[in-house]
């Protein structure tokens, strides 16, 4: 509670007419433990009745110094740290880091690894969007959505577990390719999933698309002019729902996305409902990309043949002297990355994810900066809330789809 309303001031003390016509503002601390902030975000709301007059987001509660830790790790040891940035888009973070380091090293990744990366990163997008849909709908009162989404997400997590041995912290990509080849039955499980999943999207849409309560809460809510969104650094489905078709997969293709056919869904209404529609379409497009990746999955090596950057195969180590030496060098010293710097951008489920890496030629990164989509989006939060109702704040926040670990790093 704020100081503006003193708890000791009673109604008798203040004459009834003194309040009439004057505005009494109340400050409300929303979070850091509020369920709809999905993590530890604090928003200081200044309220005039039900209307939000000022919103000040405060972050940093989850700051773990990942960028500092990365400077103290070998290049390969950084990969598990990138998982922990965004618990819903681990593989996107793995991918962005690996692509950046591969650019610095100048190694080419074999096609099987490229295709698998695309397959699993799109599965990550579905995973992230399912959690977003479930929690967003839960916040707005559609509780059953959460159960449906969690149930279907379980299948995605099982696939991740098959491939990497982990449900959340996958660390499946390596500099130069993948950690392991596909597990037995892995691709069949993905195939089965994408055969069933489109009908599940239809089910979700049946529940929400024309649901009057859902539409009342979302249509026309959280509109901010598109130029303001861009100037404030908002990215991802947020700007695509405002009519900007920018998607790093199309505009700055990475990891072989230019070989896949897919559309970038956009809307022009720029409200919470439009963002919901964009993400639903994105899940369909992800399925489309995944089925192409499955069909064209090449055979061959799953990791590059780059002796100075990639651990040699076990078989080679037992028979070749050089392989044994490289193995020893990589394990004891880590790989050396040529001095230089790179900024690699990919399209994470939340928007533009960028890794800016500076190498000084040693076996540890000199500086690793993560440009995370949630950080860029969340700083625009006041624009969405101010002037609206408290209830609309919840709807706007849900439509931004932020992860606080991704924000605070």
């Amino acid at each position: 509670m704020s100081q503006t309303i003193s708890p000791t001031a009673t109604l008798e003390e203040a004459p009834a007419s003194a309040d009439a016509g004057t505005t009494r503002r109340m400050t409300l601390s929303m979070g850091p433990q509020h369920p709809s902030t999905h993590g530890v975000l604090r928003i200081m709301l200044e309220l005039d009745g039900e209307t939000v007059t000022q919103a000040r987001p405060e972050i940093g509660f989850l700051h773990t110094g990942i960028e500092k830790q990365c400077e103290d790790k070998n290049w390969q040891q950084v990969i598990p740290l990138t998982d922990r940035v965004d618990y819903l888009a681990n593989l996107s973070n793995n991918l962005c880091y690996c692509l950046a380091v591969e650019k610095l090293l100048g190694i080419e990744v074999p096609p099987r690894a490229v295709w698998t990366r695309v397959l699993l990163t799109e599965l990550t997008r579905i995973n992230s969007h399912l959690v977003w849909l479930g929690t967003h709908a839960l916040d707005l009162g559609a509780m059953s959505m959460f159960f449906y989404c969690t149930k279907d997400r379980e299948e995605v997590l099982k696939i991740f577990e098959m491939f990497s041995g982990q449900r959340l912290m996958t660390s499946y990509f390596r500099i130069g390719g993948l950690a392991l080849d596909h597990p037995r039955g892995g691709l069949e499980a993905v195939k089965k999933f994408i055969e069933i999943f489109p009908s599940k999207i239809d089910d979700y849409e049946t529940l929400l698309d024309n649901n009057p309560i859902w539409k009342n809460r979302t249509v026309g809510v959280g509109i901010v002019p598109v130029d303001t969104l861009l100037a404030w650094g908002v990215t991802g489905p947020m700007i695509r729902a405002a009519g900007i078709p920018w998607d790093a997969r199309k505009d700055e293709p990475y990891s072989g996305y230019q070989n896949f056919e897919f559309d970038v869904p956009t809307r022009t209404e720029n409200d919470v409902y439009a963002r919901y529609r964009v993400r639903m379409e994105e899940m369909r497009q992800s399925v489309r990309i995944m089925s192409q990746a499955l069909e064209g999955m090449p055979d061959g090596a799953y990791i590059a043949d780059a002796p100075k950057a990639v651990l040699p195969q076990r078989e080679k180590m037992k028979t070749q002297m050089e392989a044994l030496i490289y193995h020893f060098k990589i394990v004891t010293e880590g790989i050396r990355v040529p001095a230089g710097e790179v900024y690699q951008v990919i399209e994470s489920p939340r928007g533009e994810l960028g890794y800016y890496i500076v190498s000084d030629g040693t076996s540890k990164p000199w500086r690793l900066h993560m440009r995370t989509p949630s950080f860029g989006n969340i700083q625009a939060l006041p624009l969405f809330c101010e002037g609206g109702l408290i209830a609309d704040t919840i709807a706007s926040m849900g439509s931004m789809d932020f992860v606080l670990g991704d924000t605070d790093r």
Binding site: I59, G60, H63, G65, E67, K68, Q69, E71, D72, K103, L104, D227, L230, A231, W232, G233, V234, I244, W246, D251, E252, G340, E341, V342, Y343, V345, E352, G354, Y356, V358, W366, R367, H369, R371, F375, G376, Q379, A380, D408
Partner: protein
């Protein structure tokens, strides 16, 4: 005259900048097919405005810094610019000394630089003059020191648990 790499001699950005702001462009190079400009820190705001208005760099993807301790000038402030209409990216860098680590804020050019500059201020101790709300963003308000500086330890800070006070 400034140091401009060969493939950028005819570049429209380089020509425009050298004509409009003589001396502002310290050097220009391509690194792994990405354009990098070193800019005189005193002119960062007019250069940013020019790039936004004339070359349609309508958003700043991120602002960050690199600490080259113990070299001097130790800090580099890095602006990662992005133009959606032209689908191009540009990296601006400004060198700052450790004794005078301050630069003008670009929040007036791109409001989205706001939190990124606060983050650099918090973690590197670089002051952005003219920033509307320059407070710590990640660390607690009463924190001592700036964690991403190279002379700040990774382990064994005084708040270390187990050490006691």
């Amino acid at each position: 005259m400034s140091l401009i790499s060969e493939q950028l001699q005819e570049d429209a950005l380089v020509l425009g900048l050298t004509e409009k702001f003589p001396g502002a462009l310290e050097s220009a190079s391509m690194q792994l097919e990405q354009t990098v400009f070193y800019i005189d820190p005193a002119q960062i705001v007019p250069v940013s405005e020019y790039l936004r208005d004339e070359h349609r760099f309508n958003r700043v993807s991120s602002v960050t810094a690199v600490d080259w301790y113990p070299q001097e000038p130790r800090f580099e402030v890095v602006y990662l610019l992005h133009s959606i209409p032209n689908n191009s990216r540009l990296r601006l860098k400004c060198r700052l000394t450790g004794t005078d680590a301050k630069i003008l804020s670009v929040t007036g050019v791109w409001p989205g630089a706001n939190w990124y500059e606060r983050e650099v201020f918090d973690l590197f101790g670089i002051t952005f003059e003219g920033h509307p709300d320059l407070r710590r963003i990640m660390m607690p308000d009463d924190w001592q020191g700036h964690p991403l500086r190279k002379d700040f330890p990774v382990h064994g800070h005084k708040y270390d648990y187990g050490q006691g006070n």
